[in-house]
Symmetry: C2
Subunit: 383 residues, 2 copies
């Protein structure tokens, strides 16, 4: 992709670029200067910016904008008298001269929402393949980015294996539940997870801020009747709620819920965050939903509370709709991972005869996405 | 605190309560039912809710609301025919029948912003006292909640001591930098932190999502000239920007910045989040500011970009204003902790003769706040 034209506009405060493809975009002089890729602006070793915005004169202008023989931009800035080159492809990738048409709750392009239809297409990888086949591992991680959910089979059937799995792509988030925790029926449990009760679809630890963004659950034994696992796409549930009841969707995004957990000595966790979180630009970025740890909601005005509760109820109904569920019964050596900011998980109640022993741990998405980006970047470089 | 009156309103869909103090508040029947503290609704063992909203009839009403001899509320719900008692003090604490007057960027009451004047009042605790004196430790944690910053002295001068400090109140967040990392001048550093350059005041790892919400930096050796540490209250900087330039403040809250780090093999971290983050109700909840890892900002419309950059520049100027800075030079055995979602830290450049050896690690605020809440709760129970 090459540039064809570069015209200074607004007295050199900006430049209008045209590519050979016919696309055009305006860039501000100050933005270009701040993002200059030259060695005095960015470290060649680690890519970090070496200067601050205050090192760049506030009255920065372009005095010249030329297209090189290769079709790239060479820009000259006053008052610094500095010339910098920008690849045409980099510029088109970072163009900001259009405002996308979006509605509140829009999703990033790498996200695909799903319902029960994902059942047959669940992303699965063998533990051994994940360890030895970098491309296959990258595909599995990409599927987790896309669907917020993945399964691994053939995990060594020994206590703590899930930690080794988490470390294949990232880092464990240790909490008051430990580096990992045992999920099995207990006498006097400090959490209802440690019973044989069914658990409504939920995200984990909404009373934590930040919540753990990934959860892994690994099966070591499972001889009970019942205890099936269920996952539900919270983003799809949000989309359905918005389509049916835009006002209710808005209420769940605009008002904070509260969550709390004080089931163990020395632990009193509390948070105040919305059930459906939007970024400042309206992007849907997180779901928090957990009947067990929902505290009294006190941040909704009286006049909105009835509608808020109606929206909360409808959201719960959508989440409980079997048409939303992917279900499976974990066998020993099987593990699933969920994006805990998006995908809810549930379990059916199970018999008190037999043994159901899972281990769970938390990790964070930034590590997974970083590992994935590095694999993808390596593939691009090799291609 | 006792109740005096309870009047059903809106056909039993709500109740209006009056306390002996003259206060009044309305509560919805459904809200009361959902927050019932009885043993069938909440686990007596761990406090978790045993039912879901879908277990509560949508047409729930109050048929009776009575004041007990102790001044508490006893409410009877239809169609369940269930009676539940609510302590008068709990009700007043959870009343939601008023909308507080707030401007965008309001702060929670436990937050107090500061400038250079905090220098003389820096919260400091001796390591030994933190370990043995629960009340003093609680006060130090409360000061960190209030100011986002604290110092510990007398930390054992051995590698890894900071981990033991983090575990006094919470859990370490391990990242690609390790469980902890060495901060000293290196040849070919993968991060500019590992040089003797000065570093502009910044929050750490804004390219991570979620960011680590706490950072600890512990000094093991310091014989260089310079290298002083500086901390700045990002919330105060936000308040100053808002007072001077409300439009600029709004731009930094409404549009996402982008951050990235790819300084090490296998690591490509990226995030898209605002520099000043507000909750959906306008509460100021996080600051992200880091010139080294700021990526090209591509989520601001062309027509807003010039004003966005002007606001970014002014925010940087406020952050660099010496009137905002608390400065100190860490001695061996001294550690400081910052709320990395609020307080920026900087260091002055230092000489290449002598040794400056710090160790850093990340942790999360939820653990610290939980430990603090448990200490405060214990003190309340004991009182």
């Amino acid at each position: 992709m090459q540039l064809k034209t570069a015209t200074l506009i607004n007295d050199g405060k900006a430049v209008k670029l045209g590519w050979t493809t016919g696309e055009t975009a305006r860039f501000h002089a100050l933005w270009l200067r701040d993002n200059a890729p030259d060695g005095a602006t960015r470290s060649a070793t680690n890519g970090q910016r070496l200067i601050t915005l205050l090192d760049i004169p506030a009255d920065t202008k372009l005095t010249k904008a030329e297209i090189s023989a290769a079709g790239d931009l060479t820009a000259t800035f006053a008052p610094e008298g500095k010339s910098v080159s920008y690849p045409a492809a980099w510029l088109v990738r970072h163009a900001y001269d259009q405002t996308p048409a979006r509605q509140a709750g829009w999703l990033a392009p790498e996200i695909e929402t799903w319902d029960a239809g994902l059942q047959a297409k669940t992303p699965v990888i063998l533990h051994e393949q994940g360890k030895t086949d970098r491309a296959a591992f990258g595909q599995w991680l990409a599927a987790i980015r896309r669907f917020g959910f993945g399964v691994m089979t053939g995990v060594p059937r020994q206590s703590g294996s899930l930690i080794e799995v988490a470390e294949m792509f990232g880092f464990v988030r240790e909490t008051n539940y430990g580096k990992w925790f045992e999920v099995r029926a207990e006498v006097n449990p400090n959490n209802l997870a440690y019973t044989n009760l069914g658990l409504q679809a939920h995200t984990d630890n909404p009373y934590r801020d930040p919540v753990p963004t990934l959860q892994l659950l690994c099966c070591l034994e499972n001889t009970v009747d019942g205890g099936d696992s269920v996952v539900v796409d919270g983003f799809r549930a949000g989309e359905r709620l918005r389509a049916e009841n835009p006002h209710g969707f808005a209420l769940l995004t605009r008002h904070c819920a509260r969550f709390e957990y004080a089931g163990s000595a020395g632990v009193r966790l509390q948070s105040k965050r919305p059930m459906i979180e939007l970024g400042p630009d309206g992007e849907m970025i997180a779901i928090r939903f957990n009947n067990r740890s929902a505290a009294a909601f006190t941040d909704i005005p009286y006049d909105d509370m009835a509608d808020f509760y109606a929206a909360y109820r409808r959201f719960a109904e959508i989440i409980e709709d079997p048409a939303m569920e992917v279900t499976f019964k974990l066998k020993p050596g099987e593990l699933f991972i969920v994006d805990n900011t998006r995908v809810l998980h549930a379990r059916k109640s199970f018999s008190s005869s037999g043994t159901r022993w899972l281990q769970g741990c938390y990790a964070d998405k930034d590590g997974l996405l970083s590992t994935l980006a590095a694999i993808e970047h390596g593939q691009k470089e090799a291609a």
